[in-house]
Structures are given as C-alpha cells and as structure tokens.
C-alpha cells in the first residue's frame, strides 16, 4: 500500500479499503525528489470553524502520490469539503501541516498561493463557473492562465468537454446549462488544466448514472496518466474505482 494513513487518536479516520496504487510514476514530477515521493501530504490536520464549539476535522493524516485515485467519504457535514479545502490550500487548517511536492505549503502566504496555483485543479462542490461565458470558454481559461494561446486552448478545451459528454454544448452559456452540465464543465476544466493534483468535491452529485461512470472513468484516467486525484463522494460508483477510501466520521468528533 502506497498511501499512509495516520491514525492518531484512532477515530478520526475510517478504514482504508482501497487497492494498491499502480506503482510509482516515473517522471510524473520534477526535481530531485524520489520518483514515488508523495505529491500531497496532510499530517494531523484539524480544523475548527470560527464560531463552532467542536472541530470539524480532527487529526487526519493522508498521503497522495502520483497515479493514485483517493476517495474521501462520509456523511453530510462530516468535513469532506473542509478536508479537501485544507489539502488544496484554500483553507489554512487550524492544526497540522500540508506538504505539497515536498514543500511546507503554509511556510508563507505567497508559497501557499503559488503552490495552489501550480499544483491543484479544482472541481468544486457548487461547480463554480464563469456564469456569463460559454462552456468552452470556461474550460479554456484553465489553459489560458498558464500562458497557452487561445487557439490551442480552445482545441484542448473542446476535447475535454467531449470526454465528459458535453461535446454538443460547447457554445452554451454556463448560466443556461442544466443542473448537471456545469458540473461536467468543471470536470472538463480540471482535466484540461494538466495540474498534477485534481481535487474533486462531489463531482457527480447532480449527474445521471451514465454520466457518473463517465466522470469516474475520466478521473481514473487522470490518475493513470500520472496525476494524483482526491475525490470526495457519496457515490459508490465513484468510490468503487478509488485506490483507497478515507472515511470521515461525525460520531468520532462528538458532534452528535
């Protein structure tokens, strides 16, 4: 098993029931670090939102390597989004450390911002899109912001939308998409971005079973291509495809 799970306190983290990852990913990351060194490490992560009496996350440790697809499950409110936000550097955790590509992410605010920009592709729970722009433009932004030219970006964006079954809706304005379509747009955006770590928060919450399978397959192929994927999900179709699943438990935090 490549993923190490800390169990300090013993109850913050559920069973690891995944299968082993597909081995080390040579060349998946640069630098002098060992080829199978984890891309993303969270150690003893804890978080208490301001105004809440008890922590939402307590003592969670997690390592993710390239080529791994790691699931995070748990009931609503168990802190899946909070864990992903902490790992993805959107939220400074109130306890613990996040190490990205061997670098202590919160060493400085600018380091956190740089790593967040360079390493993570987000599929957010609310499918945050540029509402006034088309599906194609929404996906192209992920490439344009990396210095790509518009023509090349648009071609790759169209491919990514095709991959999630939105090939017919390229020119549709995001605000006019149905409930599930923006979710696929953000999945396509993450696929196209090429960032080494994909963080997916309920990427299939509003998608039909066939679409769910397509998204799960897309995430799987991201991992196969050498990226690391962390996916928070309620959906067994997605969880089944994960190498490992981290289960968060509300009872453990004494919140009931």
């Amino acid at each position: 098993m490549t993923g190490a799970l800390g169990r300090r306190g013993g109850r913050g983290v559920g069973a690891d029931r995944g299968r082993p990852a597909a081995g080390p990913a040579p060349g998946a990351e640069g630098g002098a670090r060992a080829p199978d060194a984890p891309l993303l490490v969270g150690t003893h992560l804890g978080h208490t939102y301001r105004g809440l009496a008890s922590p939402v996350l307590a003592d969670i440790s997690l390592e993710v390597r390239a080529r791994e697809l790691v699931g995070v499950t748990g009931p609503s409110g168990s802190g899946k989004s909070t864990l992903l936000s902490a790992l993805g550097l959107l939220l400074p955790p109130s306890a613990g450390r996040v190490v990205v590509r061997g670098e202590d992410a919160w060493a400085s605010r600018s380091a956190a911002r740089r790593l967040a920009r360079e390493c993570f592709a987000w599929i957010l729970q609310n499918s945050a899109c540029l509402e006034a722009r088309t599906a194609l433009e929404n996906v192209a932004v992920a490439l344009l912001c990396q210095g790509e030219r518009r023509n090349a970006s648009v071609v790759q964006a169209a491919d990514a939308l095709e991959a999630v079954g939105l090939g017919e809706r390229l020119g549709a304005v995001a605000a006019t998409l149905s409930g599930g379509e923006p979710q696929r747009v953000t999945v396509a955006r993450a696929l196209a971005s090429g960032r080494p770590v994909v963080l997916a928060d309920e990427p299939t919450g509003q998608i039909d079973p066939a679409g769910t399978d397509a998204v799960a397959a897309a995430l799987r192929s991201c991992a196969t291509a050498g990226r690391a994927v962390v996916v928070a999900t309620h959906d067994p179709r997605v969880a089944r495809r994960c190498d490992r699943v981290v289960e968060l438990d509300t009872v453990a935090l004494g919140r009931r």
């Binding site: 936000s85 959107l90 939220l91 911002r113 920009r117 360079e118 592709a121 987000w122 957010l124 609310n126 945050a128 899109c129 540029l130 509402e131 006034a132 722009r133 433009e137 932004v141 992920a142 344009l144 912001c145 990396q146 210095g147 030219r149 518009r150 304005v173 605000a175 955006r189 971005s193 960032r195």
Partner: protein, 357 residues
C-alpha cells in the same frame, strides 16, 4: 509561461464585456451621461461668467488698459492723442510710481504717480485737475489722511494742494491707495487707460491698437469695475462651484462601478481557483471599467465638442469643459483598482460559495 499572455488577457477582458452586452453598453452610456453632465455644468458656468463680462463691456463700464508685455513705456503724447476719438470718453496715462509719505503720518507710505491727460476720468468717470493745480487723491486715502479738496499736504517738506478727491479705487484696489500728480503729456507713461462709451468697445478697439505704431508687445486688457459684494468675472471664475464637478462626477462613477464589481466577486474567485495569478485577476475587472469609462469619455468629449462648436459657448469654455470631463474620467478609472481591494476582503472559499445570478 505560467501566466496569461497579455494579449489573451486583453481578449478575456473584451470577452467578459461582450458576454454582457446590455450591461456593458448601459455602463458606457451611464459613464457618458455623467461625464456630459460634468462638462455641461462647467460649460454653463463658464458661459454665464463670460456673459457677465460681456455685459459689463457692453454697458460701457469698461476701461481698457493699454500696456506692453515687455514692460516698456508708451509715448505719453500718443496716449493723450486718443482723446476725442470715436467711442472714447476719457483717456489718461500713468507715469512711473514712486512711494512718498505725508509728514502728518510719516509711517504711511503711499504710491505717487504722474497722471497724463484725464486719467481720473478714465478710472473713475470724474474729471481731472489741470497740470499744476495740485494732487488728486483717492477717496479712500483722503479719508485716511483726513484731507478734503483744498487742503494742503506736507510731503517731504513740500506743501502740496489737494486739488481733487475721486473714487479711483472703483476699478482696481491699487488705485485706491494712489496719489496722482496731473502733468503735461510729455515723455512716457507705463500704461494708458481709456474709458470707452457704452457698447463701443469693439468699434474703438482698432483705434486703440493703432495708437502706438512701432511699439511691440502691445496688450489691451479691460479693467472692470468692482462693486463691493459683487464678484468680478475673474473672482466668479475662481470661485465657481462647477470647478468641483469633475471630482463629484469621478467619485460617482467610481462608486457605481465599485458597487457593480461586487456582483462579480464570485467570478473573480473562479479565475483565482482556476489558476490565474492575482496580479492578472487585479487587471480583469479594472480593465473592464477602464474600457467602459473610456468609451463613455469618448462619447462625452465628442458630444461636448460638437455642442460647443455649434455655437453654445465657444471654444474657451468648451476647453474648460473638456478638461473637466477628462479629469472626471481619470478619477473614475483610478478608483477601479479599489474594486479589487473590496473583493479581497473576503476569503476565497467564501467567495467561491457565493452564488451570483
């Protein structure tokens, strides 16, 4: 490259504007309307001040002051020769000014100057004493020194008769402290004052200009009467409220666009979470505002220019209006980056959860 290409960022700004055509055009029209308002308020006050000045000129209260830009003196005879020409009521020249003190009040120095021709008439509408008859004092100075016409003043050991007291300071406070010594039109004068008859200023101007052949740098300005409590056109101009119109217009536009930026915070957060550097995000929304305000400013400037050219106020007030509009637009554009500071108050996660629409 790990950042937007500048050309692509510009296209992105344009695409965001084009994605909301009604809002963008509406915002540009709003900017144009506010800027035209700024320009019109400037134009109307400039025009009304001009009209005041023109009215004073037309009502005959005008005295023209002829001098040179170089400070060179004018021939006194040429000045005196203007007397009696068409439309001219009274003419007089002023010689070099020296400071003298009366023995009765030695600490009080006051300027004395030779007065050629009917300088008193040209300045106050009264009539001058003949050369040698004594001094002419302003009423202000006469009451300060306690003298009346016929009194004698002891100036540096000379006993000099006060020939007349006149309201010399009516047109220029400087003359209110002046002692004039009427003298014959020989030698030179520093300036020549000409009082022009009602409505005759324009027709008298050619003879004023032609009176001093061979003198270079001749300037003719008008000395308007000052009435206590009534501002001169110059004071009016300096004190006009419309000179703050550009500040008001710029602040209003800046504030409106700032408020409008609030609805776009979610979108800017999406750019950040997709991997756009904050420096590039900082250009996205201000870039839109800059383009919208620029478009509005072009419309406003063109409209005001046309309005002025078509005869509403003329070029000088129009120029003041165009300057005010440009300033207002620049102020609005300068406040645009504040929209971003506003956005940065909330953390990214909160902004991402915020739903627009």
């Amino acid at each position: 490259m790990t950042d937007w290409r500048p050309s692509e960022l510009v296209r992105e700004i344009l695409a965001n504007l084009a994605a909301r055509p009604l809002q963008s055009v509406g915002a540009a029209l709003l900017a144009a309307a506010v800027l035209v308002g700024v320009g019109l308020s400037e134009l109307s006050s400039a025009t009304s001040i001009d009209a005041t000045a023109a009215g004073l000129v037309a009502s005959g209260s005008t005295t023209a002051r002829i001098a040179t830009t170089t400070g060179a003196a004018l021939p006194a005879a040429a000045c005196a020769r203007l007397d009696g020409q068409h439309g001219i009521v009274a003419v007089g020249g002023i010689g070099a000014v020296t400071t003298v003190a009366a023995a009765s009040s030695p600490s009080l120095g006051f300027p004395e100057a030779a007065a050629v021709g009917n300088l008193v008439g040209a300045l106050s509408g009264g009539s001058s004493a003949p050369p040698g008859a004594g001094l002419v004092l302003s009423d202000e100075l006469a009451s300060q020194l306690g003298v009346v016409p016929g009194s004698y003043l002891d100036i540096g050991g000379r006993a000099v008769r006060v020939a007349a007291v006149a309201a010399l300071g009516a047109r220029d406070p400087f003359f209110g402290r002046l002692v004039l010594a009427p003298s014959a039109p020989v030698g030179t004068v520093q300036a020549c004052y000409v009082q022009v008859a009602t409505g005759e200023y324009a027709s008298a101007l050619p003879s004023l200009l032609g009176a001093f052949p061979g003198v270079s740098g001749l300037t003719i300005s008008t000395v308007l009467p000052t009435t206590p409590g009534v501002p001169t056109p110059a004071a009016d101009w300096a004190g006009r409220l419309s000179r703050f119109a550009w500040v008001a217009g710029g602040v209003v536009l800046g504030a409106v666009f700032l408020l409008a930026s609030r609805a776009r915070r979610h979108e800017l957060a999406v750019y950040v979470v997709t991997g756009t550097r904050r420096t590039a995000v900082a250009l996205l929304r201000p870039g839109e505002i800059d383009l919208v305000v620029s478009a509005g400013a072009v419309v406003a400037l063109a409209w005001l220019g046309l309005f002025a050219v078509l005869g509403h106020g003329g070029w000088a007030p129009a120029r003041a209006a165009l300057v005010a509009v440009t300033r207002a637009a620049l102020l609005a554009v300068a406040t645009a980056p504040l929209g971003l500071a506003w956005m940065a108050r909330r953390d990214l996660l909160t902004l991402l959860k915020e739903r627009t629409s």
